[in-house]
């Protein structure tokens, strides 16, 4: 249903109704921002990556195959843009994350913030390929098939990367006392 809505919006946009792309932007800004945030580890850079992702998607919308899922295509662009950014930056130790305000006592908030930061730092130690599968699986909640379609690799490769990433994270988080 959601995919059909996306396809309709894309078709309308391709037929000249540019405003329809605005709806897609509104719908996917948050997931794309979060994807980029988990990939690059920095809020400001994540916003830049998200903006570039949408611009590239808009420019190349005529190349999009309407038989495919729009979000997979968009996530793929976002992953590629993030990887490009990581290659340019070559430093992932910077973390300037804006943690959202959550319920709970100040002590709980501080604890949650510290834990999130530690997890994010652990994710940033993964290789870009491993990070991609972890972000798509755990933060975007994609299935193996969707990850395979997004990353353009086989499901077996997706599982293999995911397992090695999980093992790496497990060792790192255990070492950090989490």
């Amino acid at each position: 249903m959601v995919e059909q809505e996306d396809s309709i919006l894309v078709r309308q946009c391709l037929e000249g109704d540019r405003a329809k792309f605005g709806k897609l932007v509104k719908k996917y800004t948050k997931p794309i921002y979060n994807l980029a945030l988990r990939m690059v580890g920095d809020g400001e850079n994540a916003a830049d990556v998200a903006q570039t992702t949408f611009i590239k998607a808009f420019e190349n919308l005529d190349k999009f195959d309407l038989n495919l899922k729009f979000f997979s295509w968009l996530y793929r662009i976002a992953i590629n843009e993030s990887l490009n950014f990581i290659q340019k930056q070559k430093s992932t130790d910077q973390l300037d994350e804006e943690i959202p305000s959550v319920d709970g006592s100040p002590d709980e908030q501080v604890q949650r913030r510290e834990r999130t930061e530690m997890i994010q730092q652990a994710v940033l130690t993964l290789t870009p390929e491993q990070r991609s599968v972890v972000v798509l699986r755990h933060f975007m909640d994609l299935s193996y098939t969707q990850m395979s379609a997004t990353l353009g690799i086989t499901e077996a490769r997706v599982k293999s990367r995911l397992f090695s990433a999980r093992q790496h994270l497990r060792k790192l988080l255990v070492k950090r006392g989490l």
Partner: protein, 451 residues
């Protein structure tokens, strides 16, 4: 050793795609394989940790920035997805062609080529008065004999006719040249039009430059908008910083409260120690008081003993004197000595009373001092502790009160001791009196026997 099949099952279970059979199989195998079980537990914990990371809201201006930047990007190609109609395709192609920058020049070129074609078709080949004919079929070859002298005859009519034809031809040529001239004039007008077109083209170029400048201005506008967005981000960051500072202040306050609590606890422990020391001091004071009372009792007893010895001596002296003196004199002396003894006893009782009064005074002073210290402590407690600690103060005060009560009971005990002492002294006096009366009786009997 964890096999690949278990790893696959663990992955499926973690990703929520395992079937019931696979889940059962995993449980069964995990029971047998402790290493796999530990791996599964740790991976599950890692998954839970990753799930605990909540999605975050993008910056508030991100969506607007994206939409704004999309407005500046080139439009999406739409032709590919439009239905195929040859008329529309032709029209679109023509429109696209017309929309090109050099469309004016191209039109001018087309007009010029058409004009040249028309011109050439009219001028070339040069036309004659006779109609040109084509030949179909076999060529009829003309073979004539060699010309002779008589063949050449001047015909004036024909010659004049030829001249007329020539003049006609000349006129025709003049007309043609006129036509050519008019066409040349037309060409010049076309040229002038072309020039006008070129001027229009120049103007179009100028307009394009203006357009590019406008685009540049738009870009500047966008950059300024982006700057404003950045500024707004900075403001948002500042807000966040302020919030962080507020949180830090809250944390500092919490730490300060914690340190105050620690200090209060230290004060409480010190107070407890002080109270314990005070208890010890009170006990030692009470012991000292008891000791003093005992010492006083002992001194009183020793004095009583001394008085007894003195009395014995006096009695011995009186007995010796009684031997020599008359019984009356002895009696008078005994009476006198008895009065003296009574006086001494009275003095000792007064002394005892004074001593007891002094001890009571000391005790009251001590109690006063204790009360003062208790008051000081309560003041300190009031300062250090808050409302909750008032209860502990009241408890402490009650303890102090109990101690004061204990002190009063001790005082009562000491008073009762003093009373008992007085009673013993009175008993002793009575005993002494009885002894004296007995001795007097004995003496009187002895005197009687002697007489």
């Amino acid at each position: 050793m964890v096999s690949k099949s278990i790893v696959d099952l663990i992955q499926k279970e973690l990703d929520g795609v395992a079937t019931d059979a696979e889940k059962a199989e995993l449980r069964r195998r995990l029971k047998r394989n402790k290493e796999a079980s530990a791996l599964f537990a740790e991976l599950r914990k890692t998954d839970e940790l990753l799930k605990s990371v909540l999605p975050q809201n993008p910056p508030p201006h991100l969506e607007d920035n994206i939409v704004r930047s999309l407005q500046l990007t080139k439009p999406v190609e739409t032709r590919r997805y439009q239905p195929y109609h040859w008329k529309e395709v032709l029209m679109s192609t023509f429109q696209e062609f017309l929309s090109r920058r050099k469309r004016v020049l191209a039109l001018g070129g087309i007009v010029a080529i058409a004009a040249i074609i028309v011109l050439v078709s009219r001028v070339y080949p040069p036309s004659t008065t006779e109609e040109s004919e084509g030949t179909i079929g076999g060529a009829k070859k003309y073979r004539s004999e060699q010309m002779k002298q008589e063949d050449v005859v001047l015909n004036t009519e024909e010659s004049s006719k030829t001249a007329a034809q020539l003049s006609q031809e000349i006129r025709d040529q003049v007309l043609q040249s006129k036509e050519l001239l008019s066409k040349a004039l037309e060409n010049t007008s076309l040229m002038s039009k072309e020039l006008a077109n070129k001027q229009l083209q120049n103007k179009a170029v100028e307009n394009k430059e203006l357009l590019s400048k406008q685009l540049a201005n738009l870009e500047l506008l966008n950059t300024s908008l982006a700057n404003t967005a950045l500024l707004s981000k900075e403001f948002a960051n500042k807000d966040m910083m302020n919030k962080v500072m507020e949180n830090m202040e809250m944390l500092n306050k919490q730490f300060a409260n914690k340190s105050l609590q620690g200090k209060v606890m230290e004060n409480v422990s010190l107070l407890n120690k002080v109270m314990a020391n005070r208890d010890m001091l009170n006990k030692t004071m009470a012991n000292q008081v008891l000791l003093n009372q005992e010492l006083e009792n002992k001194t009183l007893q020793s004095k009583a003993m001394e008085n007894q010895t003195m009395l014995n001596k006096v009695l011995a002296n009186t007995s010796l004197l009684s031997k020599n003196l008359a019984s009356k004199e002895l009696a008078s002396k005994v009476v006198e000595s008895k009065s003296l003894l009574n006086k001494e006893l009275q003095n000792t009782s007064l002394l005892n009373k004074e001593l007891s009064n002094a001890s009571l005074l000391n005790k009251t002073l001590q109690n006063q001092a204790l009360l003062n210290t208790a008051l000081e402590n309560s003041a300190l407690l009031n300062k250090s502790l808050q409302n909750k600690e008032l209860q502990s103060k009241s408890l402490e005060n009650t303890e102090l009160l109990n101690k004061a009560l204990q002190n009063t009971s001790l005082m009562n005990k000491s008073l009762s001791n003093a009373a008992l002492l007085n009673k013993t002294l009175q008993n002793k006096e009575l005993q002494d009196k009885a002894l004296e009366s007995k001795t007097l009786e004995n003496k009187s009997l002895q005197n009687k026997q002697a007489q």
